[in-house]
Point group: C2
Chain length 503, copies 2
Amino acid sequence: MTTKATLNDLKSHLAINDDIGQAISLLGWDQNTYMPPGANAARGQIMATLSSLSHERLTDQRVGKWLKELEKAKLADSSTDGATVRQVRNAYDKATKIPASFIETWMKQRSKAQGVWTQARQKNDFALFAPELKKVFDLARQMADYIGYKDHPYDALHDGYEVGSTVAEVKKVFEPLRNETVELVKAIQSSKKKVEDKVLKQSYDEPLQEKFAVDVVKTFGYDFNHGRLDRTVHPFAQSITKYDVRITTRYSPNFVSMALFGTMHEAGHAMYEQGIADKYHRTPLGHSISLGIHESQSRMWENLVGRSKPFWTWAYPTLQKTFPKQLKKVSLEHFYSAINKVSPSFIRVEADEVTYNLHVMVRFELELALLENKLKIEDLPEAWNVKYQEYLGVTPKTDAEGCLQDVHWSFGLVGYFPTYTLGNIMSVQLFEAAKEAHPEIEKDMTQGKFDKLFSWLRQNVHEHGSRYLPQDLLKRATGSTLDSAPYIAYLNNKFRSLYGVEK
Amino acid sequence: MTTKATLNDLKSHLAINDDIGQAISLLGWDQNTYMPPGANAARGQIMATLSSLSHERLTDQRVGKWLKELEKAKLADSSTDGATVRQVRNAYDKATKIPASFIETWMKQRSKAQGVWTQARQKNDFALFAPELKKVFDLARQMADYIGYKDHPYDALHDGYEVGSTVAEVKKVFEPLRNETVELVKAIQSSKKKVEDKVLKQSYDEPLQEKFAVDVVKTFGYDFNHGRLDRTVHPFAQSITKYDVRITTRYSPNFVSMALFGTMHEAGHAMYEQGIADKYHRTPLGHSISLGIHESQSRMWENLVGRSKPFWTWAYPTLQKTFPKQLKKVSLEHFYSAINKVSPSFIRVEADEVTYNLHVMVRFELELALLENKLKIEDLPEAWNVKYQEYLGVTPKTDAEGCLQDVHWSFGLVGYFPTYTLGNIMSVQLFEAAKEAHPEIEKDMTQGKFDKLFSWLRQNVHEHGSRYLPQDLLKRATGSTLDSAPYIAYLNNKFRSLYGVEK
C-alpha cells in the first residue's frame, strides 16, 4: 500500500473515535449541567461503554501495523502527515503500554480516593485521606514505569498534560519566577499604598452581570452560534466539536469579579477550540495540543486583556452604566486597582494574578517530592504549611484550607499543576509577540476592538490544533522557546507600578 | 454451549447497543433543546457514526448464530427469555433484511423530501412536493418487500411502530369508531348548546403556567429526580435511560391549554419509560413495546384524567388561585366545558378529543390507498379534501392547511398515523380495567390522589417494557383484545352529556 492509502485508512479508522469522543464530551457536559440527579449511575455506564469502544478501536492491532508502515516512510514531523503519525503514535503507545488490568485498578482507586477526599476535606481530617493518597502515588509511579521515561518518572506523567515538557524544563522556568514573585509579594506587602476592593463586593444583579459578561466575550470573539453559556457550580469550557464549544460560569450576587473574569477565562479556552482549522475536524490534529497552551489562552483573555487598563478604559463606562448605584462614584483608577489587588491567601482558586503561581509551585514541588519518595505522605501537611509560609508568608489554619483543598491528586492528576503556570508564562510570550506584530493592539482595546489580537491568535495558535508540539508552536509564534522572563517583566511592571514599589 | 450461556452472550453483546442508543438519545435531546445552531452538521455526523456502530453490532453474524441456537431451544414466548429472543429476532431481521445500500437511498430521500416539504408547505405548493412524496412511497413499497409480510405490504411498515398489528385489525376497530364519531360530531354541531372557550384565551403568565403544570405532573407521578422539563417549539418526551426521561413543553402567553395539556401528555409518555422494571435495564426488554401503548399512556393522563371533571374538581380551585384575574369568576362547569369544546378544524395537532381520530383516519385511509397504488400522488390533495368534508364537514382552503400539514410522510413515516388512535382506544380499555380493579380511582382524583391509577399502570403496563407484545399486554391487563367499543362509549358518554345530545 502507498503511504497515502495507509494514512487514509488510519485516519478513517480514527475519525470514528473522534465521533465517539464527541458523544462522550456531550455526555460529560450534560452530566455537569442539566442531567437529573438520579441518572448518575446509568450515565457512568454509558460513558464507560463509549470509552471502552474508543479504546478498543485505538488499540486495534491494525493501528500498530499502520503506524509501523508510516514510520518507515519517515515523514517529516514538521509536515501535516508527520504530525498526524506523531499524535497517533503518542496516543497508541499510552493506550497499549498500560495493561487493561492496571487501568481498572487505577480507575477504581481514583474513584475511591475522590470519595474519601471529599469526606476528609469536609471533616478536615488528613489522616483519613493519607492512605488513599499514598495508593494514588504508588500507582502513579507504576504508571510512569509503564509509560516509560528518559530522565524522570514525573516526565512520563506530566507529558500526558503538556506533551514534550519535562521536570528539568519546568524547574528552569519556575525558579526565577518563584524568586522574583516572592520578592514582589514582599515589596507589595511593605508598600504604603493599600488597595481597597470593597467596591467589588456589593450587591450586583445577576442577570445584569450575565448580560455584561456575554457582551464582553462576544466582543472578544467567542462565537455563540457555535457555543453557549450556562450556569454551574464549577465553571468549565467543554468542546463537543469545534462547531460546538460551550462554557459555564457561576455568579455571586455579592461579588462582581467571579462571573466576570470567570466567563472571560472560559471563553479564552473556548475560542481556542472554536478556532481549530476546519480541515483538522475528525482527524488526529483536530484537538488542542496541551493544557499549557490552553491555559495561555484563558489567562490571556482573563488577565492580560480582562484585567488591563486599556480594556477597562473602554469597558468601564458601560459597567458603570450597568451598575450605576454601585459604581457611579468609583473612578476607573480605583476600579482598576481593586480588580488587581494582591493579597496572599491559602486558596489557589481565589488567588490574584501575582500569588497564583506560588500556589502552583508549592504543589509542583510537593508532588515531585512525593513521587520521588523524598517526602512521606504523612509529612505532606507540614511540608505544605512550611512552603506556604516561605513563599506566601501565610500558614493555613487547617488542612482543609491547606493540602486538602484541591481535588486533583485524589483524582490521580499528578503532573498536571505546572500547566497552570506554564500557561501564564506562555500567555505573556504570545501576547508580546502579538503586540510586536500589531503594535496597535493595546490602543485598539481602549476602543473595544480585539480583532487584531483575536486574528493573530487564530493564525498563530488556535488553527493549528495539534499540528505542532507546544514548544514548536511557541517558537513559531514568538521566535523564542519557553521563557519566564517576559512574564516576570510583565508582573513587575504592572504590579510595582500599581503598588508604587519600583525596583 | 448451554442455552443460558448463549443467552448471556447475546445479552452482553447487545447491552453495549443499549448504551450507544442512550448516547444517541441524549444527542437527540440536546439537538432539540440546547445545541447551538452552528453545530447541526457535526451533530448529524456523530449520530450517524453511533447509529452505524450500533447497526454493525446488531447485524454481527454471531447474533444470527446465537438466535438460531436459542430458537432451537424453543423457549416459550411467554417467558422472559423467550420474549428476549423474540425482540432480538425482530430487530435482527429488520436490520439484516434491508440492504445497506437501500437504507442509504432511503435516508437520503427522507432528508431531501423533508427539505422540499418544508418549502412546499411554506409556499403552499403541493406540486413541488409531489415528486418527492412519490419517491418516498415507491421506496416504502420496496422496503415492505424487503421486510416481508403475509397479507398486506402496509403490515410490514406498520409493524415497525405497532408490533403485531395489521391493516385488517386496524380497519376492524377504526370503522365503528369512524362511523360513531362522524355521527357524534354532527349531533354536537346541531346541538343548541354552544360551548364558549374564550376564558382559555386570555393572558396567562408563563412562569405561573409552568409552576402549575409541574405541580400537576409531579402529583401524577412523574419523577423529576429522573427527569426534567424544558421548553421547545415542538414538545416531546425523550428517554435517555429509564433513570433519565425528559419532557419538553411550549407555552402560549395567550392560551392556557397548550402548556397545561401538553405537559400532561408528555409526562404520560415519560412515566411509562420511567416505570420499566430495573431488571430490564440494558436488556432487549428494557424498552417501550409500541407507539400505540405509548400513546395510550400520554392520552390517558392528558384526556381521561386531565380533561375530566373529577380531576378539575380537585385542581380547579388551585388554578383559580394561580390566575385569579382570569378565572375567579369562571365556574368549574364553564371551565370544564371550555377545555372540552368540540370544533371540527383542518389541523390535527390542534384538534379536540372527539375529532382528533377523524384526522388520523383520513391519513390512514389515504396512505393505505397510496401504498396500494389505488390513489395517485397527484390526486392526493383532492382526495384529502373530500375526506375532510365527509368526516369533519370542513374543507381546507389550502394544501398547506390540508395534505401538507404533517411532517410524517416526508420523513418516510408510513404506517405510523394509526398508532395515535390505537393509543386512544387502548387508553380507555386500560382506564376501565384500572377502575374495575380500583373503583375509587375517580373519587381519588377529586382529592388529588392518583396513586392507585399510577400503581396499576406501573404493574400492568410500564414495568413490562417489551416483555409482552401490545395485544398480549392489553389482554393481560384488561382481559380483552383490542376493541374500540369502550372508547366509543366513553366519547358518547362524555360529549353527548356535555352538549346535551343524548342518543
